[in-house]
């Protein structure tokens, strides 16, 4: 069987051009999108008036623009949920017109040229750098603690400041102080392993230095060094010798040069591009590093480098096999620490403030247990290759005695170690009933149905909710006497009566209310803070009704495609360390076909990201 070419899921160029032409028609003047906007939106969101800062007539002039795109997508959300045009408008589109509008706007993605997106030389993140030093030299990861913390994944600031350079030099010194014995002292394990006899060489010392340079650069640069790169290191050695340094201290300085070199701090291509193409596949070594830092946040291991050395890595079947292998390795916990924790919002748990008097259970040990629960849960889904839907539906979790108190299971669970527990309460289980997540989406002293609603829509289903405008009256503003006896739900619904709030809150609030039985740290309750009974029933904009968190979960779980697409998008952005733009949307759509065929399994999803067009290619011109 002929090997499948990389990116075979991508539309061919002819197919793509056809799609592109069709999309252009929908957006040009007199096209479908234009007609719809003029008929139903432009009075309030057009050239004359731009309510809420939205001018769709401007947006369709430049549909390739990121912001125009986001605005038009917001428009679709509201038009599909029948929230726009407002009820008091006489002119309302038919259901068919609404559906058609959504379909047209969806074609916006074809307007971007086929491109793997900007690929810039990427600096290792603080976490990746710490892991790299640990795995190469056995030093403590905390050796990088001074470096500034940074956003990882989409939004990563792939930049370098003088502060960081200084710290890289300081870290290089600290690493050497640990692994390099001063002269006269017994050699360290590191020196034995990396330098062999070179340190003790009495003759041919420069030759020995050359050997050392070759071996350390190969491992530290994660690819074979170029001849010129070895020469650079030898020049460092020579300078040290000229300045009356001994052979061992000259080797040490050479080593320091490796640790501060761009080839070590960045993922760099192994060889110059000779092709005339503007878009080329990543070279095998660069891909090995990219893959390894994506799944492990550390250096590629020998197996990956060996495959790269044979030129065999950049091939979908090989990559998929490697993904499976790497996900089962313990280093893959990095995928939760780097991606999962941020996706689920668990990374905020450590520093988030809670009202200590109201929630005395929220100790450091509790925060830790909550974060561990999320980690082990994420990990189990990845390792066991479960469907993405299981993030919502699973009936097990990981608890210890601390966390058991939140679940009301303290009688059955003792001991500090986290263990897998089957949950018999159908309202629990899955991320919607997970204490850590329910806590990070709450205020310090009460739940926030709105925050929870936003979280589910954006983080679970991948929808785009516009930020609340500044001039919205908030709950506390409401007449204290009038609202004193109302439950939080009743009070929140009050502000759904205001037209400026209702549009968004009709979508957001029902979901948040459906989770009101969980208090601000995720404990089950029947009464809310006002003493009124919790009403967790609701109707989603699509018309689905629910009475309990369990039923809400079941509804969310039916939205498999959205759920899987959302995780795929977020994971691809994390893998690429940038926001998704332009052609990426077409890429995701193609990945979704394959992922859906395999019931949205997590390892398939990750494999598809790894073999995707933007992950395996780069623009060189």
């Amino acid at each position: 069987m002929a090997a499948r070419q990389l990116g075979a899921d991508e539309p061919t160029d002819t197919e793509f051009i056809a799609l592109q032409n069709k999309a252009k028609v929908a957006f040009k003047e007199g096209g479908g999108v234009d007609i719809f906007i003029k008929a139903y939106c432009a009075d309030c969101h057009g050239h004359k008036k731009a309510k809420s800062g939205l001018n769709f007539q401007r947006s369709i002039k430049k549909p390739g623009n990121v912001i125009a795109r986001n605005h038009l997508k917001q428009a679709v959300t509201f038009v599909e949920s029948l929230d726009m045009p407002p009820d008091d408008e006489d002119k309302q589109p038919t259901d068919e017109e609404r559906r058609q509008f959504a379909e047209w706007v969806d074609q916006i993605k074809y307007l971007s040229p086929k491109d793997p997106g900007p690929f810039e030389l990427r600096r290792l993140t603080k976490i990746e750098f710490g892991n790299t030093l640990h795995d190469l030299f056995g030093v403590d990861r905390a050796i990088v603690d001074d470096l500034p913390d940074e956003v990882v994944g989409a939004g990563y600031l792939n930049s370098m400041s003088p502060l960081q350079s200084e710290q890289y030099l300081g870290i290089a010194n600290a690493v050497l102080d640990e692994i390099w014995a001063s002269e006269g002292k017994p050699v360290t394990r590191f020196q034995k392993e990396w330098l062999g006899n070179a340190l003790a060489a009495k003759s041919n010392q420069r030759n020995a230095a050359n050997q050392v340079a070759l071996s350390i650069a190969g491992r530290a640069y994660r690819r074979p060094p170029a001849e010129s790169e070895i020469e650079v290191l030898l020049r460092v050695y020579d300078v040290a010798r000229e300045n009356k340094q001994s052979h061992p201290s000259a080797l040490r300085l050479m080593f320091k040069a490796v640790l501060i070199s761009p080839q070590f701090l960045f993922i760099t291509p192994a060889a110059p591009v000779t092709s005339d193409e503007t878009i080329v596949p990543l070279d095998n070594y660069q891909l090995a590093s990219r893959l390894s830092y994506f799944l492990w946040s550390t250096i590629p291991d020998d197996e990956l480098l060996a495959l790269a050395g044979k030129g065999n890595l950049n091939h979908p079947e090989t990559l998929k096999k490697q993904v499976k292998r790497m996900l089962l390795d313990k280093r893959s916990r990095a995928l939760f620490d780097g991606f999962g924790a941020q996706w689920l919002g668990i990374d905020q748990l450590k520093t988030k403030a809670f009202d200590e008097k109201k929630y005395p259970l929220m100790t450091d040990a509790m925060r830790f247990a909550m974060a561990e629960e999320a980690r082990l849960f994420f990990d189990s889904i990845v390792r066991e290759n479960q469907s993405v839907v299981n993030f919502v539906t699973n009936n097990y979790s990981f608890l210890n005695e601390t966390l058991a108190t939140v679940y009301g299971l303290e009688k059955t669970l003792t001991g500090p170690e986290m263990r897998r527990v089957k949950l018999t309460d159908p309202n629990r289980g899955g991320i919607l009933g997970m204490p850590g997540i329910l806590a990070t989406t709450s205020f310090p002293n009460r739940t926030s149905p709105v925050n929870r609603g936003v979280w589910v829509l954006e983080q679970v289903l991948g929808e785009h909710i516009p930020p609340a405008p500044a001039n919205v009256p908030t709950l506390e503003k409401q007449d204290k006497k009038k609202v004193a006896n109302l439950t939080l739900r009743e009070r929140t619904e009050l502000h759904q009566t205001s037209a400026s709030c209702a549009n968004c809150h009709r979508i957001l609030d029902p979901i948040g209310f459906g989770l009101e039985n969980f208090n601000a740290i995720g404990q089950w309750r029947e009464l809310d803070d006002s003493g009124g009974a919790i009403d967790a029933s609701g109707v989603l904009p699509g018309g689905e009704k629910f009475e309990t968190p369990r039923e809400l979960k079941a509804i969310i779980a039916t939205r498999k495609e959205e759920l899987a697409k959302n995780v795929t998008e977020k994971l691809l952005a994390y893998a690429l360390c940038r926001q998704l733009i332009g052609y990426d949307e077409v890429v995701v759509e193609n990945l979704m076909n394959t992922i859906a065929k395999d019931n949205y399994r997590m390892q398939t999803l990750i494999s598809e990201v790894v073999t995707s067009y933007p992950f395996t290619r780069r623009r060189v011109k």
Binding site: G53, N65, V66, I67, N70, P118, E120, L121, R123, D145, D146, P148, D149, E150, V151, A154, G155, L157, S159, M160, S161, P162, L163, Q164, S165, E166, L169, A226, E229, V232, R235, V239, A240, N243, Q245, L253, A257, I260, S261, Q263, F266, P269, V273, Q342, A353, F354, E356, F443, N445, P467, A470, P473, T474, E476, K477, R578, Q579, I581, R619, K621
Partner: protein, 460 residues
Amino acid sequence: MRSHTIIDRRTCLKGVGASLALPLLENMGWAEAAAGKTYKPPVRLGFMYMPHGVIMDQFWPTDPKTYLSDPPPALKSLKPVLDQCLMMKGISGVPISPFNGAPHALELSTWLTAQLPDAPTRNRINISISADQIAANYMGHLTSLPSLELATMPQTHKENQEGLHEGYYNYCSYRSSTQPVPAITNPRSVLKRLFGNATKPGETAKADPLDQKMLDIVIDGAKDLRRNLPQTDQHKLDEYLDSVRSVERRIAAIEYHQKEAALEKAGMSSRKRFASDSPPIEIKIPEGGLRSEYMKVMCDLNVLAFQTDTTRVSTYIGSLPNGVSYPELGFNDQHHSQTHHKNDPEKVRKVAAITEFNVEQFAHMVKRMKSIKEGDGTLLDNCLMMWGSGLEDGDRHSRENLPFIIAGGGGGSINTGQFLDNAKGNQGDLLTTILGCLEIPLDRKIGIATKTIPGVIRSA
């Protein structure tokens, strides 16, 4: 404003590393009082930021005449030094359209740039150099550290509004239009950065002279790599090279200070200090989790950095717009959630308390500067410290009258003891005026600036 050519730090450094930087230090430091001339300590420039605006009627003085003796509640901690402060009302912020949905990212990122991010490339960082970094470019070569950036929260907030890059939510200092400058959040790391491996603050760090030669070779070697890269990647590598060059420069500066320290010991210092100068202040790094202690130690480190002339430019992000809690004030609510108060008295009280708290930290820093003798006066006389916020009213996100307080004499350049209740101008004008006080020449205007603000500079 004096007009002379801007000294580009890079021109001083390109390819020469330390060898050129040393004489520069000697020629341009604050030591070179020519025979017979009075010697003048250098002027230092510091910024301190608080997000989300203020409660206006508790911040703005009602009467320029009585404001020194009867300051508004938000300023009461500054009362003992108000005669060395200057307040002005009427400074407007950059209008944020078309980014109306991202008021907090912009209150921070426009604060020292006075400019909006470039709209078409909003998904990456593309704004402009910030005022503090302009100052660092001009006078950074005179000290061992060009500038110091401090914060009390990690710059890791991940929010993407209006398609803007997440960095706009986290950074206010920009070295160039594409390079934000990260801040240090750990007091120990600040000490390390200021004084390296010196054992006591105020002592100078040791430098390994061979490091400089090694870095030279690494930089040179990176050029081979550069040639093989596509253009955008070359640009990334240039950032690397630029930042490594600045390390080389620091090593040179440290060496210079080592020599100075040796000379001083031998009683031959060219870097004259007066007998009246105070010894370096002591830094106590707090062990507990109190926000006030954390904010104060960062203030102290700023004072120490200025006192020891380790740097002359600092920017201190008191907190980031994504919100921080102040349990010490008796409530756990996050700053941002309370600023949308809609005149609810409880929330207004909390926001006022948070503002007072922040001004108090600034007041602590300023008073500490006043307690330090330098030459004929105090350290404060030779500083220009600006405290401010990126919004006026956090409830409405308004930016008509951004709150700013200037403290310190700015080397005699500031018209202190005044409240300019009708200062007409924008935040770019204010930054331009401030850099003018330090006689920093500008090769282009700062953001939306069109002029300087009258009344700020003391007339001769």
